[in-house]
């Protein structure tokens, strides 16, 4: 026995080239092509679109939804979803601004409390998903309403004004060659880069993908899948808190009605960015592109003088197109 050492012939030939392997799949390039096409289109429609000032404005407009969408990407990569993201973000903003103004807490402490509250919401979502095994859709539908109600009750449905400068510092800008760039957009880009690095280069990041790919197989190789999931929800909560701070900085107030468009826009950005709602596939930089697509459409249509209702309509069509592409490309791969 054991003398039959003929090489195993693969069941069916898979043509394999070294360089085609390295090319990103169409799923990751598609969003970028869509973004560039949208930019070209709006550049032909409006002279103002391609100015530095306008592009900087687009970045500022997407910074809140962008940071929320980072957290959302992590959750969707594990085949989950978070419907509460925008509402949790709004609550964080109210906590920060109210503590800093009415209680007169030092801004740093108020910000920490806001981050703590959003992270706590992430923890609650994560515990309900991992310990009681509730579907993320239902859990976060519940916490969506809870966060919204607490926001309204705690703020008395009043906008909070008169904030200390420290809370709005991230809305400040610096000039690069005559173009004003907000600090907040830099923070957003840094968070995208950091998340991209962790997801791509570390074992913890790869385990997030593995859980979304095949949770049972991942558990059986000895990876604590429940810990990975819980960690993802907690970190997402922290990202929502950072988004709260950006939202406060951008608007200059604590707005109890914030987060209502961001709630679904964040999911839209993730899906447009090519991350599969079925989990395990996607790149966080795609989410940045997805957020920019939403931002560019909003901005471009506004410049063209199109009513905001049509912008919502376009966003809806884009999401369905993106999900359909994901679904169809997967069928093609089989």
């Amino acid at each position: 026995m054991g003398t039959t050492a003929a090489p195993l012939s693969p069941g069916q030939p898979h043509p394999m080239n070294r360089w085609t392997d390295r090319l990103p799949p169409l799923g990751t390039l598609g969003p970028l092509i869509a973004l560039l096409a949208a930019c070209v289109f709006f550049a032909t429609q409006s002279d103002r679109f391609l100015t530095g000032g306008n592009l900087s404005l687009v970045l500022q407009q997407v910074m809140v939804v962008g940071v929320i969408a980072i957290g959302q990407t992590l959750i969707i990569l594990t085949a989950g979803i978070d419907l509460s993201c925008g509402m949790v973000m709004a609550l964080g903003g109210i906590v920060m601004t109210k503590l800093a103004t009415e209680l007169g807490l030092p801004p740093a402490l108020a910000i920490a409390c806001g981050l703590g509250v959003t992270t706590l919401f992430g923890l609650v979502n994560g515990l309900l998903v991992t310990r009681i095994k509730l579907p993320p859709f239902i859990v976060t539908l519940g916490t969506l309403n809870i966060a919204f109600a607490i926001t309204q009750l705690y703020s008395g449905a009043q906008t909070i004004t008169g904030l200390p400068d420290a809370l709005t510092a991230l809305g400040g800008t610096f000039a690069v060659g005559g173009t004003e760039i907000a600090w907040g957009t830099l923070l957003m880009l840094a968070l995208f880069a950091l998340t991209w690095f962790v997801l791509r280069e570390t074992a913890a990041g790869r385990h997030v993908y593995a859980v979304g790919n095949n949770a049972e197989a991942t558990r059986l190789v000895g990876i604590p899948t429940q810990k990975v999931l819980l960690g993802v929800y907690v970190i997402a909560g922290l990202f929502y808190g950072i988004a709260s701070l950006l939202s406060v900085a951008r608007t200059g107030v604590g707005d109890p009605n914030a987060g209502q468009t961001e709630n679904l826009d964040a999911i839209t950005a993730v899906v447009l960015g090519g991350t599969s709602l079925f989990g395990g596939r996607g790149v966080v930089l795609g989410t940045l592109v997805g957020a920019l697509i939403v931002g560019v459409f909003r901005n471009g249509l506004t410049l063209m003088g199109v009513s905001s209702i049509y912008q919502v309509l376009v966003t809806g069509v884009l999401v369905i197109l993106a999900v359909a592409t994901d679904q169809l490309s997967r069928k093609g791969a089989r």
Binding site: L8, R18, E201, R206, T218
Partner: protein
């Protein structure tokens, strides 16, 4: 409790080696893993009713049995997926008690689970190293906790070549592979990390003839590298093609251990289904 069975370790030791089977078999077979009197009850149902088990070093032991014979409960007990209510398991001469598959893995027992072995969208190298990733040396690895992707690719490649699995690109997503190739990745992963035993649950089910043969060939190579293989299969031709001995589970116990070179496939099925009583099996058909 089953000391009367000729296949108990004591009996095996007494009867000595099989004649004319090469120098490796001349010495008394080395028992690598052994279980005695395993009992597992699920409420009213007794899945294991004093089951014995013996696996020798460097052999392929097929475990067969009808549905409900206690085959999968036995395998689960050995791989740590269930904790038996009674009985004991010895690995390499030492008593072991696994409370989870992870503990079994730490003891050197790897299991290839049917159908749920791989992460489809991840690369072959990532799948091979899933849960055991290598980090870069120095600052990048310790502080930034960066993975050593290059080394994992190289080692995956080397491993697959050693096992003569004809897949060249380790960066390919597992979902782009055929069913048989996927199974080869799962088996290669288990073989790469097992120190003692690889348990395979129906590795050739749902595969075509050619693909099935490819996996069988791989199973032989794993054995030839010195690991012991426990092969659970319903496919009798496959069992007879690769197994060194056949453990027949029946009614929650071990009915017999058969020698595939001396017993026919139909008699084996008869023992499995109860049509042939264990004490009616011709002595020369029993594995020694």
């Amino acid at each position: 409790m089953n000391a009367a069975l000729p296949t108990s370790p004591a009996a095996v030791a007494r009867s000595g080696a099989r004649p004319g089977n090469g120098p490796a078999a001349a010495a008394a077979p080395q028992v690598l893993m052994q279980a005695k009197g395993l009992v597992k009850r699920y409420g009213q149902v007794t899945a294991l009713d004093g089951a014995d088990f013996e696996l020798r070093a460097g052999e392929i032991l097929a475990v067969i049995g009808d549905n409900g014979a206690g085959k999968s409960s036995l395998i689960k007990a050995l791989s740590g997926a269930v904790v038996p209510d009674a009985g004991e398991i010895h690995l390499d001469g030492r008593p072991v008690r696994f409370r989870s598959p992870i503990e079994a893995r730490r003891a050197g027992i790897e299991t290839v689970y049917q159908d749920l072995a791989v992460a489809p969208a991840m690369s072959i190298a990532e799948n091979l190293f899933l849960g055991r990733e290598l980090r870069r040396p120095g600052f990048a690895g310790h502080v930034l906790r960066m993975l050593d992707k290059k080394r994992m690719l190289q080692e995956s490649s080397a491993r697959m070549q050693e096992l003569k699995v004809g897949i060249r690109s380790m960066t390919q997503a597992v979902e782009t592979l055929s069913g048989g190739q996927r199974q080869c990745v799962a088996v290669a992963r288990a073989a790469a990390f097992a120190r003692h035993v690889v348990i395979m649950d129906e590795p050739t089910a749902a595969l075509g003839v050619k693909e099935g043969n490819m996996v069988l060939e791989l199973i032989r190579r794993v054995r030839d590298q010195g690991l012991s293989v426990v092969l659970i299969s319903h496919n009798m031709p496959h069992v007879f093609e690769v197994a060194d001995r056949i453990h027949v589970a029946r009614l929650g116990r071990r009915a017999a251990v058969l020698d595939p070179k001396r017993i026919s496939m139909s008699d084996t099925v008869a023992v499995m289904t109860g049509a042939m009583r264990p004490d009616g099996i011709p002595a020369e058909c029993l594995a020694h």
